[in-house]
Point group: C2
Chain length 238, copies 2
């Protein structure tokens, strides 16, 4: 089987490893309560996330210089706070809220599944999140990565091919020796085009809809319900 | 105390975390036995290591293009095998031997000390070893890094300032919020010049001499006998 050559698994993070939406909703609700305000925290989280792809596109086209996700999140947040009428927040409070992305909670299976997968593979995030964000997030959540890989190391955001190829190169592996694990078909398609193997994990609750985006049967090398299931499907023993 | 601001500890690896000399001696002795040869494995290890600084200097001056330590180790090794009369080794055997640097054993206190330090600090290697070497070494040895930092990420070998400054930047920290831990005064002096805090750990057995290189009293922010002692001196509780 072609997957016998796989030596490392690299993981999309926002949505695939961590529940960004639930985490942000909880922090925004707590902040609103502390301020004595009402807020639609789900709409807030969705709007923050919705600004993410357009912000990366501005970097990709050169409209913005290279900026970390921390800086892009902050740009989006400042606009949001205006839209939601939260202009009362001062610089320190904005910075603290912006760093909620360093404090996202993992899906319930993530730590157990990664711990199993780590027995037989090098495991690392491969995220558009900046290096310190991914490092802080992993430390807080107890994600047992062997190393941290970030788009920041390549100054190219996924789905640019440089990010996938750069990750394999740093690991000292050929692309076909690396599998990207993600819940987003678009990310997996770009990894596949770069020569990587692909592992799809369903995260139907990522956007609060209970629905996953569509993809073709057999489009990816492996599909799984969660990380523990992924380990079993790759031959890991219980 | 100035050390209250320290949030991350980054570690020199060869000599400071792992016993490169003892590890190479063991593998070279085993290889010699398998080949039915005699070899002065200590001299072999020392000669291999002695080629390291000059090889990095050739990269630094532009005499060689950017090359990973794996490639520099191999250049040195091929010369050594000629010198030691081991030209019998084929390509696969040379590659396997060259990757002994991915299989170095940690000093006895390293895993326990790092595990303690990780409770209060972000911990990472900051080594001239390439990224995959450091990742593979840590996985095999059980070093509990939060992330892996390598000179390869900056394409500058220590003691170039770019490596220290680049590490702090990736961690999202100012240099004075990062402490370099090393057994080599020259490495610590370069980190200090770049604005980092410095922690000296004695490794008198690194070169098989039982002697450590000299340095001035109070030259570094902290001096310790090993990593467990370092944690205690930084205020970690037993």
């Amino acid at each position: 089987m072609a997957l016998d050559a796989v030596k490392a698994l690299v993981f999309d993070v926002f949505g695939t490893v961590v529940d960004w939406r639930g985490s942000i909703v909880r922090e925004v609700d707590a902040l609103a309560a502390a301020l004595g305000r009402r807020v639609d925290s789900s709409a807030f989280a969705d709007a923050w996330r919705a600004g993410y792809q357009p912000a990366m596109q501005r970097v990709r086209t050169g409209d913005l210089p290279w900026l970390r996700i921390d800086a892009l999140h902050r740009l989006i947040l400042d606009g949001l706070l205006d839209d939601f009428g939260w202009t009362v927040l001062d610089e320190a409070a904005r910075d603290r809220l912006n760093r909620v992305w360093h404090r996202l909670d993992p899906w319930p299976d993530a730590v157990a599944g990664l711990t199993r997968l780590k027995r037989r593979y090098v495991i690392a995030p491969l995220s558009n999140g900046n290096f310190s964000l991914l490092t802080n997030l992993a430390k807080r959540a107890g994600l047992p990565w062997d190393c941290v890989l970030s788009a920041e190391l390549f100054r190219h955001y996924k789905p640019d091919a440089e990010t996938y190829l750069g990750a394999a190169d740093l690991l000292g592996l050929a692309p076909h020796e690396v599998m990207l694990v993600a819940c987003h078909p678009s990310d997996l398609r770009a990894a596949k085009a770069a020569g990587m193997r692909t592992g799809y994990v369903a995260r139907p609750d990522e956007n609060g809809t209970g629905r996953s985006p569509p993809f073709e049967p057999h489009e990816f090398d492996c599909t799984a319900d969660d990380f523990v299931d992924l380990d079993r499907r790759l031959g890991g023993e219980d």
